[in-house]
Amino acid sequence: MRIAIIASLLLFGLTRAVATINVVTTTQDLASIARAVGGSRVSVSSIVTGARDPHFIEARPSYMSRVASANLFIAIGLDLEVGYERPILDGSRNRRVAIGQPGHLYASAGCLILDRRTDVSRADGDVHPHGNPHIWLDPYNARQMAWNIRGALIRVDPAGRDDYEKNALAFLDRVDRAMFGAALVDRFGTSTLWTWSQDGRLMQRLRENGAAAQLSGWAGKMAPAAGQAIISYHRSWIYFANRFGLQVVAELEPKPGIEPTPGHLASVVEIARSRNVKAIVQEPFYSRGAADFVAGRTQAKVLVLPGSVGHTPVATDYFKLMDVIVDSVSSALR
């Protein structure tokens, strides 16, 4: 009898091990959220590793082998992965994760999308007609992405529904508390706080309710910087700026995907002076030359920040990523 029980437990354990859901994501931000939502039921890997520009990844054959055994493939969408998603999926020969199948997810569905264009031309640079794809730097979008991932995991692993629901809600709760602080979340509820944030009236509403002093978290740290102007290298910080009330007044790239030119940088210097810009934000994979050029002629400070999980050794998950960004930007704009 004892042997039978041990054998059953071993078999159960083996079954659990075999049943691990294999998730492959394009970016490390997605991987971080997928790990939080999937918990112990999933094994997650990301195609983009280290500090790399997610626009310019090549479809390495090794990615095809990795996706070949995936139960779920998660991409941002909005054409962020337009150069390599399809070659990887086709090369993987994995019909479970083909576009339109239950094992494929564009995590941007339902997110707040900025820069959506109806009149598109490459004269405007390497633009994304369905909207700016750098959605994850808005914590609200991270919530939506987690909720989408929860739905996709339930599709491919219905037996894990309870785990995924619980983990997703825990992730949302953690985002909410990291964003506004526990006191406000407990007092007003998250729906109210996000609505006020989205309307740009968070501080006004909190003052009206005598709760401004209770604001903490990312929103609390960024609140003194609201209304300030920043410059970014690529148009990848507009979601962060939009959420925290900053204004991106110029990009070092004259157009998305086009390298900075001397003439354009001269105009950026003028903008930086006239708008009293204190911070130039860029990801670590861009050369600092252009930013240093502008910073050397203005009072702006260059902030080389992780734009994604994994861009720097400190940014090991979504929360640490946002912590680093918020701490750096709020300090620079103080």
Partner: protein, 361 residues
């Protein structure tokens, strides 16, 4: 902004978990696509314009070298189709001797037009139609994906100016496991070329290829492939063995990369008097600035069925203003045992409109 079903689900889930978080409400539901364009294939046009600035054999000219039209779309849930149609100058021999004088007409060539089934399961993929044969890596690329002006001499001398592109059937198998290993088998009705002649449905050129891939690190990777071809050479048979190796250094920092690509081929035939031939190609491309690439290339090719040999040494500087256009200046020095040395300086202006190009390895 109302999401009653989601709220019900979320409410139940919160009851289960006891968490206080409320699920998100979709902020920006995807609008319905405009119906008039949604089923159109992805389209692109590559325009390749060249100027032969220096040529000691006297062929200086400006020319619209080629227009390549590309189309791709899903036919249905099972099949994806691609087609590449080239309009190029007749007598398209950039570095070859014997170009016909006064030939100034364009010809249309269907370079590729195939349907591919990638969802067969079990690691299989099947392609039907006209396609680039699974020979090496470089000749499967289109002109906008080359780091130099033309296909290596050995490819041109074995299979023709545009490489081996022929109607037939392709089946490839991706071995399971984390190590990439792909086996490809093809049977194609190759057009008559320098090596293969009179291929037919029941007497095709058979192609086998095995390729693997190594991620040495996040920055350094390599692909190693081996190809074997056997097919008719009139009443006889010809056989080719090929090896190809590509190594890429791609640190995350923008504006830094290096690519080494090399291919070698051995050809033989049981045709009386045919002595085995060898050809090889190697190129190193180094990105010196975000927009600027330097390439050095070496060619060696023994022409099949002859004792002729030609060598090429050259290099180019490529200025890529964006992903969609380039300006290139390439200098080639060509020597052979059948003609005087030739020096060619070519300017290339190439741009792409339409669908975003694929980032192939």
């Amino acid at each position: 902004m109302t999401v009653p079903i989601q709220s019900i689900v979320a409410g139940a889930a919160m009851a289960l978990s006891g968490a206080t978080a409320e699920p998100p409400e979709p902020q920006d539901p995807q609008p319905s696509q405009p119906a008039k364009n949604v089923f159109n294939p992805q389209m692109s046009i590559v325009t390749d314009f060249r100027g032969i600035l220096i040529d000691n054999h006297g062929e200086k000219e400006w020319k619209l070298n080629e227009l390549e039209f590309g189309f791709a779309a899903d036919v249905d849930p099972f099949l994806r189709a691609e087609a590449y149609i080239s309009v190029h100058k007749s007598g398209h021999h950039h570095h070859e001797e014997g170009m016909e004088e006064g030939l100034d007409e364009y010809e249309i060539e269907i370079e590729e037009a195939f349907g591919v089934y990638s969802g067969l399961g079990g690691g299989w993929q099947v392609k039907l139609g006209k396609f680039a044969g699974a020979v090496g890596r470089i000749q499967r690329n289109h002109i906008d994906q080359l780091n130099f002006l033309d296909y290596p001499f050995v490819i041109q001398d074995l299979f023709g100016d545009h490489g081996l592109r022929a109607p037939g059937v392709h089946a490839s198998y991706l071995f399971p496991g984390q190590q990439f290993l792909e086996l490809t088998l093809e049977a194609v009705q190759a057009e008559d070329g320098p090596l293969f002649e009179h291929a037919k449905l029941d007497k095709p050129v058979w192609i086998g290829r095995l390729r693997t891939f190594f991620d040495f690190s996040e920055d350094l990777s390599a692909q190693l492939g081996g190809s074997i071809l056997t097919g008719p050479r009139d009443e006889d048979r010809a056989t080719v063995f090929g090896l190809d190796y590509t190594m890429k250094w791609q640190p995350g920092q923008k504006g830094q990369s290096a690519v080494f690509e090399a291919e070698a081929y051995w050809a033989n035939s049981n045709e009386p008097g045919f002595s085995s031939t060898f050809g090889a190609f190697a190129a190193l491309t180094y990105q010196v600035a975000p927009r600027v690439f330097l390439t050095g290339r070496f060619d060696y090719s023994e022409l099949p069925g002859t004792s002729d040999v030609r060598r090429g040494f050259g290099g180019n500087v490529t200025y890529r203003l964006s992903e969609f256009q380039l300006l290139r200046l390439e200098l080639m020095r060509i020597t052979s045992n059948f003609d005087d040395p030739r020096t060619v300086l070519t300017f290339q202006f190439q741009y792409l409109i339409g669908a975003h190009p694929a980032h192939k390895y």
